[in-house]
Subunit: 783 residues, 2 copies
């Protein structure tokens, strides 16, 4: 007998047998929140329309589409994938190069001052430049475009689940995201650029999906085919895959990240198109890097687009290494869980601070910047100087540019190992930590201090109001953790410390982000070493499993904190005890097949509903009782009212109504660009007229019977990707439709609010604290 | 406005407007085939039950499940994944080792005879050993277990889509598959072992999913949780991923293959479990190979589980290589399409031969074996001998074991380059072709002859009745094609010939199998060279796109040929012109909520239906007209009849009916193990009694209104994974249910049979022959 994840109830809730749950709650209004924090601002959110409105008008339109249009459409799909890939790779490359050059110059200037002995001046230059580099994105993001704050991954993930928020994909967001990210990452804040690239990629794709930008006169007729939520969803999935691919030069890893973490719906055809997009990214980046390697990209161009090359021809490991790897994985998972827990708390505190006003957002960000500058500059003074190794492959101490052996305050012939890590870009620190044959470079205390600093700074830096990612900070923290463990067990393992650093990074990524396949492939692509595959797989699985016992993944945690109504793809066990009638709320607004214009306007003005059932009452229906004809969308009603195809008496419209509209009128505009009912002006005479809704009503809406279990209705709603689900009565004597279910009706908060008795039965995932009891019962110690 | 793949109709089918399609065809019986060729035998097929039957009995059962059971279930899920991974990797290792040793000894003996000059004797030994090695699997497969024939990939793919056939996953099939595959691959037939490994992995997983084997007393109580089609599907998906992972030592590639090609439903939780399974495979194989490399696996143990290592530290390519790569991809795609076309024809001819009787199957297979032996032994005589290179890294001519320089008939100091490829195992041939720094090893004519031979032998060998795969033959054919192209363009590209061979293999794989992501990762894992990634991605996409313009992928082609009712995940455009009422067939069998036993027995005996709507007629229902209560499955009815909980008068059963049954009674047995209605003996008195169906009826069946468009009903059916979909009437005056839709009602053959007028509108994918017209229209040359 099946027992899906969701059914793992475990509580003997007999209550539901005693108290019948079915009762008339249809007058209750769904009060669950329809707003969410997008970036750093509270915005209203809206569901997307993935369902194809099968009405006569659209059917007619499809029939008239010839081969040419199909060909255009297919061609455009691939062409857009190509454009998205090309643009995102160029942005990624530009990002990397700019950051490398700005940060490079900053460290070069500071290092030179240090060499000249002017430490105070060096600190001033360092902290002021960091402050300015932070202030710019903080101000721009806070005042101009709050949607660009943070990584954007939770927003994109929610969008791909069917939740839209105004402005997340606008051209303005894109520009702020790109330049804000460059500036913020260059400012030595402990944030990454990869997360922002996901949002950037999604923005690029969305601009095409919205038919270009009317405001800047960048439109193209052929883009009209993509003005619907389904095609936009596909494009944005490809775009986010391209983002990660460009950030890490990991095309397959990026694709899998989009598949595993971001997308809620997926199919083979989309997989191939996304694969094409990331292939374009890979080819273009490869070509650009060839250009840079020949020295044409500024003083620090060669450092861009790192591939942490840890290839050693003989990565050999034996079974004696397994215990060390297991420990690394378990502790990495624990650290990841702690990280997610702390970050959740910090984000909550920050959101309170940010909520006080825009100026507080900027102040908080600048405070973190000053604090970070102080820490990065101050800590290396604590480390003792080490003598340069005699057999070092590169100059020691490092001359000018950032390298393995930073001089900092040391005398010549010596280097400061903590400064090599901390007074450096994160990318260079990762390279240092991952590099092989450097087992004696770092002192034990250095690694510990560095690890603690990274961990702490990552936690406090993530929530500041600038475009920021999480990948690179976590990789650098994990790498220092792995290197620390390697030093601890030292000679007891044949693996070199660089390899341990890679595995440590994997374990912390697994512990925070919890996606296994994409992280595995991404790390392999980053380090170019396939022989580590078995170890990498095992460590990711262990750290994920351990961390999952405590809390959820970092993106989901943030998404929940931001209040997005994300629809899970499984039903909670208590949903099997409820029927749809238990949660459906009212009041229900219904239109007649031929409806009075004034009535429509009134309903549209007084309610916020986006879909309305259309009913044929007896004189119009061929039956003796009213029958359900279908579902009409608010956006389509508004178009109908704008078109003013009214008749003075209630009568069926003739087929020439089709000529009065074009398919473009009913195309879904980008978020926030739809017309509002208040924009339409109608005369009193027109308000008294009638409009035939039949040709524009989706005659094939999905329906469930009111006694259907809520769990099954959720599966239908989620798998098919609906916005509205009509509830029809069990007994035929009543109205042909008794309610509409939307995304919000399936939210656990709403359901538990309606049925408080279920709260204590609410089953969460089997987390750690439940395990001891289960184990005891298993062993017969508890009845 | 949306325009999904399926809607790309393009024809202006105005007919459907002229002739209303809705008419009463409910008396038509669905005549679409319910049988398919499984392996090499025609068998009845059945749909699987993925839907959770939410009835009172199950709900009661769930409520009584405590923490312990949940813990057992979760633990078992991971434990079974571990077991499947471990067993499949051991089988894969054993397979490889045995094949290497058997084939190695065969070639060693023959080569030694050749060296001694006894060519006739060598041929005799070679062909007779091949004949015997072919006869054994051919006879065993034909007479004992026809389900083990072929690769099994189409069968597993159909199973994962919801189509079950008896015997495909039995313990017998598993044994025949393993030993048959070893023997057949050792016999120098042009077949591979990877495809069989997919089926083997699926079998291993299924044996666990069926609760072990009662016949051999291998059962375990905890396995009972997996006796349902949903958990079995998950296990088998993991198993097939493990199969590919073990065959190619490509854990991520195997996982992605299962995701991209095999699975119809997928979710994150399953992804992680499958990832765990393939990680186990990777770790175990890695450990076993370490053992073998120390020489403990027989004379040829080191050859097993190849990783075609083409790592060269500087894989450099520039834009000047792009044209060559493009041509390679385009021609590879064309070759792939031709291959699929020819294979389709050959399989059709073979199925006619095989249909004549079991003895014909064996004869055909033996015929192919003799022909292959002759060709492999005869062709090298045509090649001229080449002088050994002076700077060869290995002995020339090869001593004893198969190597790069086979002596064959040549005098000492010379080698036969065609024999090095053809008179060798396929694995060794691939190694030779992929190896770098061997640009002058082969003559141009040799490569051409070898390519043609491979292509031809692969086409004629695939359909023979032994366990056989397609991967390795296609890789070797593609590698020779790539090497040929490299020789043709020679100095015009900086890429070495080994690299071209890899790309050639990729292009032919892309052209036949058409999955991009998994092939890309698999080939990278095989060759251990991540730097080739951009080229690999591009070439796979090109060859796939080119080949898709002509026909479908090889597995789908075979599946269609075998007659499996595979449910696509998109609707055909003509389905939007139809409603469910247009396709639903009858007659419909309905039961009352409290039904007479004799009536049930009669209906079960006289129909083959597997699901029946349950209706409450007025005296029982609280409404004045009959209402739909739910859906009951045949298997559950049979259990009810076996339990004999009858009452002499029509009355509701008390709640103690739950005690009379255990959840295990209703667990889904493995395919072909369910009880039949004829096994149940009931007295005349019992037949006159009544049984209350309510507690065992799924009270939340999915329903659609009869006017729902067929396309939307299909999406619901496919996405939710249904077996039965109830059709309810639009008007409430009639019976509360008007029909049941099953998988077969959505099959294009059935729909087009009912509505012949649609045939000419049937839209196929935009294949090549349609392109010129579309292009012309686009350019305005055609109106």
């Amino acid at each position: 007998m099946p027992f899906t994840t969701a059914e793992l109830n475990g509580e003997e809730d007999t209550e539901s047998l005693v108290h019948p749950l079915l009762n008339s709650q249809r007058s209750v209004i769904n009060s669950s929140s329809q707003v969410a924090i997008v970036g750093a601002k509270l915005c209203p959110v809206e569901s997307l329309d993935y369902e194809i409105a099968e009405n006569d008008f659209f059917k007619q339109d499809w029939r008239t589409r010839g081969r040419v249009q199909i060909f255009q459409y297919i061609l455009m799909k691939w062409l857009l994938s190509l454009c998205v890939g090309a643009i995102v790779s160029l942005i990624g490359f530009f990002n990397n190069l700019t950051v490398e050059n700005i940060a490079g110059i900053k460290f070069l200037v500071t290092s030179n001052m240090m060499s000249a002995g002017s430490y105070g001046m060096a600190f001033l230059v360092f902290s002021v430049s960091n402050f300015v580099l932070t202030l710019f994105p903080a101000a721009v993001t806070s005042y101009i475009c709050p949607a660009a704050a943070g990584s954007g991954i939770p927003e994109v993930k929610a969008y791909l689940n069917g939740v839209d928020a105004p402005g997340i994909f606008s051209l303005g967001t894109l520009v702020v995201k790109i330049f804000g990210s460059i500036s913020a990452v260059s400012s030595s804040l402990f944030i990454g650029k990869a997360g922002s690239m996901v949002h950037t990629g999604a923005c690029v794709a969305s601009v095409f999906g919205q038919g270009g930008s009317k405001k800047y006169h960048l439109t193209w007729k052929w883009l009209r085919y993509f003005k619907n939520d389904r095609d936009r969803r596909d494009l944005i999935t490809s775009g986010s895959a391209a983002g990660i691919a460009a950030a890490f030069r990991a095309p397959v890893g990026g694709l899998l990240f989009a598949l595993e973490e971001m997308a809620s719906w997926w199919r083979s055809a989309l997989l191939w198109r996304a694969f094409f997009t990331t292939a374009i990214v890979a080819v273009i980046l490869r070509a650009l890097i060839d250009v840079c390697l020949s020295g044409k990209c500024g003083p620090f161009g060669k450092g861009g687009l790192i591939m942490y090359d840890v290839t050693s021809t003989n990565v050999s490991y034996s079974f004696s290494d397994v215990p060390a790897v297991l420990i690394l994985g378990v502790v990495g998972g624990l650290l990841g869980a702690v990280f997610n827990f702390l970050m959740n708390k910090v984000l909550w505190v920050y959101s309170r601070v940010n909520g006080k006003g825009t100026v507080y957002k900027v102040l908080l960000t600048c405070g973190v910047s000053i604090f970070t500058s102080g820490l990065l500059f101050g800590l290396p003074w604590l480390a003792s100087c080490k003598a340069c190794p005699t057999d070092a492959e590169e100059a020691c101490p490092t001359v000018g540019k950032s390298g393995n052996y930073m001089k900092f305050q040391c005398s010549s012939g010596e280097y400061n190992d903590l400064a090599s890590l901390i007074f450096n870009t994160n990318d260079d620190a990762i390279k240092n930590l991952f590099s092989k044959d450097t087992d004696s470079e770092f002192q034990y205390t250095t690694i510990i201090v560095f690890f603690l600093t990274c961990f702490f700074l990552t936690v406090v830096s993530t929530g500041v109001v600038v475009p920021s990612g999480l990948f690179v900070p976590i990789i650098v923290t994990g790498a220092s953790y792995g290197r620390g463990v390697a030093m601890l067990i030292d000679s007891r393992s044949s693996l070199n410390q660089g390899l341990f650093a890679v595995l440590g990074a994997a374990s912390l990524l697994g512990g925070t982000m919890r996606n296994t396949v994409s992280l595995c492939v991404m790390l392999l692509e980053l380090t170019n070493n396939l022989l580590m595959l078995p170890l990498m797989m095992i460590i990711l699985l262990i750290s994920k499993t351990v961390a999952d016992a405590f809390n959820g993944n970092v993106f989901d945690t943030i998404m929940k904190l931001k209040g997005f109504p994300y629809l899970e793809n499984h039903a909670e066990p208590y949903m099997r005890q409820l029927t749809v009638a238990d949660v459906v709320t009212g009041p229900l607004q219904i239109f007649n097949g031929i409806e009075k214009v004034g009535n429509i306007v009134h309903v549209l003005r007084t309610t916020g509903h986006n879909g309305f059932p259309v009913i044929d009452e007896p004189p119009m229906s061929s039956s003796s009782s009213p029958i359900l004809f279908g579902l009409i969308l608010r956006a389509h009603l508004i178009e109908l009212l704008k078109g003013k195809v009214f008749s003075p008496t209630p009568e069926y419209s003739s087929s020439d109504v089709f000529q009065k509209f074009s398919a473009d009128d009913f195309a879904k505009r980008g978020s926030g660009h739809g017309d509002a009912i208040d924009d339409i002006e109608l005369s009193q005479e027109e308000l008294e007229m009638y409009v035939d809704l039949h040709p524009f009503t989706n005659a094939s809406p999905y329906t469930v019977v009111e006694t259907m279990s809520l769990a099954k209705a959720l599966i239908l709603f989620r798998e098919v990707g609906l916005r509205h689900l009509l509830v029809i009565p069990k007994f035929s004597s009543r109205s042909p439709v008794v309610g509409i279910l939307t995304r919000h009706d399936f939210m656990p908060e709403h359901i538990l609010n309606l049925n408080p008795s279920l709260t204590r039965h609410r089953w969460k995932r089997l987390r750690f604290f439940q395990l001891p009891r289960a184990l005891k019962t298993l062993l017969g110690l508890q009845p």
